[in-house]
């Protein structure tokens, strides 16, 4: 067993890329500012010096162009890592991911494999307003042919990214700019976390909270607070959104009888809806209360800090939602947004 050390989320991601690139010369990193600038968020710091311009490739601001280049290169056997400076910008390349990357294998009757990772930070950031602050995983998880991975801890960041790079499918790998400095124990060397496996980050008997990425930490804080009142929350970190680890989710909810899904994205047609559908169908008889979801408000992200705080799930809102599930609290009042669901 390799010795764990404390490193940042950012370093863990870099370690995964560096180790994989050392192992396999067909892997390269391409994106805006990944080389000479050392990464817009310093994830790729030092990689240009280590691998040279052939394998750490700065691109112009042309997401459609370099996402497509990655797909073409993967079609004939390379294993590209395509970095989006943020997932917000991936929307200009959405056609490449949805129509090309996701469908090539199926349309060609399995003649092509597409081992490519699209990675970068996503989700809400601080005070950057509507176009730079949004959780888009449901858009990608909707599409058959794509895998969607969202690590929440440095150890998972390393292990999942290594697994994603080794996977023979297009993988959407969503990090978070506000988690890059997060520290945690990470095994040195070979540490691979298989895709498609959720992880119980905190065991508990009363309520299952299903969450992922940044919301894991929000949920863990809430669980600590609830524990002081004797409420034991099981916090389940999905880690991979697609394929979804149905077994672990259902197993947990069968034990607790209650399920809350906490997601950073918008409520309508989000991942939480899919998880709740699964829970209702597979654990209906064991449920002691209707499953609930806590999401962001159904609005584009506002800039003003007081409004931004209002939009996002927070530990106290998770606490309230759990207490509500247990019948300990009335439905809290939050502003209703246009067409909004709670």
């Amino acid at each position: 067993m390799p010795e764990p050390r404390v490193v940042t989320f950012r370093e863990a991601l870099r370690e995964a890329m560096v180790e994989e690139m050392e192992r396999d010369p067909s892997i390269f990193l391409m994106g805006e500012e990944v080389g000479h600038y050392q990464g817009a968020y310093k994830v790729s710091e030092g990689m240009l010096a280590r691998f040279g311009e052939k394998r750490v490739i700065d691109t112009p601001i042309a997401e459609t162009g370099f996402a497509g280049v990655g797909i073409g290169a993967a079609m004939i056997g390379l294993r590209p890592i395509i970095e989006f400076m943020t997932w917000n910008f991936s929307l200009t390349a959405y056609d490449q991911l949805v129509n090309n990357a996701a469908k090539l294998r199926y349309m060609s009757n399995g003649q092509f494999t597409l081992p490519i990772v699209f990675r970068g930070p996503g989700g809400a950031a601080h005070a950057v307003a509507a176009q730079h602050s949004q959780a888009l995983e449901s858009l990608y998880a909707h599409v058959p042919g794509l895998k969607v991975v969202m690590p929440a801890t440095p150890a998972d960041a390393k292990g999942l990214l290594k697994a994603a790079i080794r996977d023979d499918n297009p993988v959407v790998f969503i990090e978070s700019e506000v988690m890059y400095a997060l520290k945690g124990e990470v095994p040195a060397g070979e540490h691979v976390v298989p895709l498609g496996l959720a992880d119980v980050k905190r065991p508990g008997r009363d309520v299952t909270v299903v969450t992922w990425a940044k919301m894991l930490h929000t949920s863990l804080k809430a669980a600590e607070e609830l524990a002081r009142d004797g409420i034991e929350v099981e916090v389940l970190d999905l880690r991979t959104i697609r394929p979804l680890d149905c077994e672990t989710i259902v197993d947990s909810v069968r034990r607790t009888g209650r399920c809350l899904v906490v997601q950073e994205g918008w409520p309508f047609a989000g991942v939480a809806s899919e998880v709740i559908m699964l829970v209702v169908r597979a654990a209906f008889d064991e449920l002691d209360a209707p499953p609930e979801r806590l999401t962001s408000l159904d609005v584009p992200m506002p800039y003003a800090t007081n409004l931004e705080t209002l939009v996002l799930p927070s530990p106290d809102r998770v606490v309230a939602a759990v207490r509500r599930l247990l019948g300990l609290e009335e439905v809290p009042v939050r502003p209703a947004a246009a067409g909004g669901t709670r």
Partner: protein, 317 residues
């Protein structure tokens, strides 16, 4: 003049023409469904270009790609079976007319969102260069692509990174039903190549030999110097945008004028003038091709449908 080369080119173009005529017939009979975009009239572009490349060079094409597939693979059976949605088709019945693939013969699609495949072609060329392989990528697209963002981003990266890719614009004068002068701000699509920069050449796309020579020069250049090249082939589609389009936006006179440049007739007459083949020999060759297409139709009709239990296969590797 190499007689066997001319005979091969003639046969290849005739195969494309007869294949698509048979496909159109099957479409009107309801045997082929969905979209069917015919290339009739433009055959010299694909046949000339692909004949100029090595069989190890990569082809990336659009949704109007029957001729490109046939020029590369010669496999009329797999193409027709795909149009029929059969398990024996080029893409197992999952792709249809717009998504023909043959990985083994380096025929990389069959892409149906205008412009979306241009960066992909650049990426294939990127991979060849990355691995120090000398293969060149041929990327086909229509004039309607020239205003798409993906087209410009693909060309920009190919120019910036000096990728060995030959972009071949099949300028058939219409972006679906809208004439070029109403959709393009410049007289020739080739003008667009200058800014990236890459050399370009405007070619009579109805002359298979001119097409072949131009693409051969471009491919050699791309291979030797690792540089992109842009070719604009002026041509015309004799039919509508797809089978659903009666092409009423064009005058009979205009269509007639272009049909006088029918690439198959042009080559046939040249071969007769040069004494390479008599009218009778060309007819016999055409009959031979017709028999090949009939065989392909028969093969498609006899082929099994894709097995229902396979519907979820190949979503993931």
């Amino acid at each position: 003049m190499d007689a066997s080369l001319l005979l091969d080119l003639y046969r290849s173009m005739a195969l494309c023409r007869r294949f698509e005529e048979a496909a159109a017939k099957a479409y009107t009979q309801g045997k082929i469904r969905g979209f069917l975009h015919l290339y009739i009239g433009q055959e010299a572009v694909a046949v000339g270009a692909i004949s100029a490349a090595e069989s190890t060079d990569y082809i990336v094409a659009t949704y109007r790609e029957h001729a490109h597939y046939l020029a590369r693979t010669g496999d009329a059976r797999a193409a027709m079976a795909e149009l029929y949605g059969r398990a024996t088709g080029a893409s197992g019945g999952r792709g249809g007319s717009m998504h023909l693939f043959d990985a083994g013969k380096r025929f990389l699609g069959g892409w149906a969102i205008v412009g979306g495949h241009v960066p992909i072609a650049a990426g294939v060329a990127f991979a060849s260069k990355y691995r120090d392989e000398k293969d060149v990528t041929l990327c086909f697209f229509g004039d309607g692509t020239a205003n798409m963002g993906a087209f410009h981003e693909g060309l920009a990266l190919a120019g910036l990174w000096k990728l060995p890719v030959v972009f071949i614009c099949e300028n058939n004068q219409y972006a679906m039903g809208t004439p070029l002068y109403r959709t393009l701000s410049v007289p020739d699509v080739a003008v667009r190549a200058r800014g990236y920069p890459m050399e370009s050449e405007i070619v009579n796309g109805d002359d298979v030999l001119e097409m072949r020579d131009a693409v051969r020069r471009a491919v050699e250049r791309a291979r030797k110097d690792s540089l992109p090249f842009f070719i604009e082939a002026k041509t015309y589609r004799f039919r509508g945008h797809s089978m659903a389009d009666p092409a009423k936006y064009r005058s009979k006179e205009e269509v007639q004028k272009w049909m006088e440049r029918d690439p198959i007739n042009v080559l046939g007459q040249r071969m007769q003038t040069l004494g390479i083949a008599s009218a009778e020999q060309l007819r016999a060759l055409d009959d031979d091709v017709k028999a090949q297409v009939e065989d392909a139709v028969e093969f498609a009709e006899q082929s099994p449908l894709p097995a229902p239990e396979t519907v979820t296969e190949h979503v993931y590797a």
